[in-house]
Subunit: 138 residues, 2 copies
Amino acid sequence: MKETIKVEWLNDLSFEADVDGHKVYMDSSLEHGGKNVGPRPKPLMMVALAGCTGMDVAAILNKMKENVESFTLEVEGDVSEDHPKRFEGMKVIYRFKGKGISRKNVEKAVDLSINKYCGVSANYSKAFDIVHEIIIEE
Amino acid sequence: MKETIKVEWLNDLSFEADVDGHKVYMDSSLEHGGKNVGPRPKPLMMVALAGCTGMDVAAILNKMKENVESFTLEVEGDVSEDHPKRFEGMKVIYRFKGKGISRKNVEKAVDLSINKYCGVSANYSKAFDIVHEIIIEE
C-alpha cells in the first residue's frame, strides 16, 4: 500500500503539510531562525508513536470493557549530542484514570500494540530502543 | 538532550498532542472507528521527514542565495501488507520553482541534509531505504 503526503514551504523555515486534507504546520524556533508557528519536525516522530500505540490501546481496552476515564501518553526522547541529531531511545508513559481498571488487561493491551499492531513502533525499534511504563490511578 | 511531548485521549480513537504548546490532532478514519478529525499517526512519520529535510534544504539554499520561488516536498511511503503495518521504504520528491536555480547546489543541499544534518532521515534509514528525486522548474 502507498501513503502520500505533501509539504509546502511557506517562508523562512516554516512549512505546511497536507495529510489527507488535514493541515499540520512545522517551524523552527526563534533562536534557530524560525518564527515558532508550528512544532519542530523531530518531536512529530514522538507524536506519531504516541498516536499509533494510543489508538491500539484505546481500542483494545474498549473491547475489554475497561472503564477508562482519562488516558494520556507522554513520550520522552533521548536526542544524540552529535550530528545528525537523532533519537537514541524513547520512553512511552501510559497513564490511566478510572475505577477498577485491570493492570493485567492494560499490560496486555500495551504489549499487543508494541509487539504486534503498531507499525511506528516496529519501524523505530530498528533504530533505537523503546521502553514503557504504565501508571494507573483510581 | 531530552525531548518530551504529551498526548491526550479525547474520545473513541481521537487524540490531541501538545508539542511545545502547539496542538496536533490525530484520529482514525471513519471505516476504522474514528471520526477523521485529524490525520492518522503513521503519515506523521512522513511529515516529520519532510519537515526535517525541508528546513535543512531551505536554509542551505538561502545561504547559497538561490532564488527559490516555491518549494514543495512530496513523500511516498510503501506500507507493508502484513502486520505490524510499517513502512518498508520512502521516496522524497523535492520540487523547486525559480529563475536560474543551480541543480548542482540543490543536489548538494539535499545530500548534506540526508547524509549529515537530518536526524529523522538518520533514524528512518536504520529501518528502511529512503530514495529521493529532485525536480527543478523555471
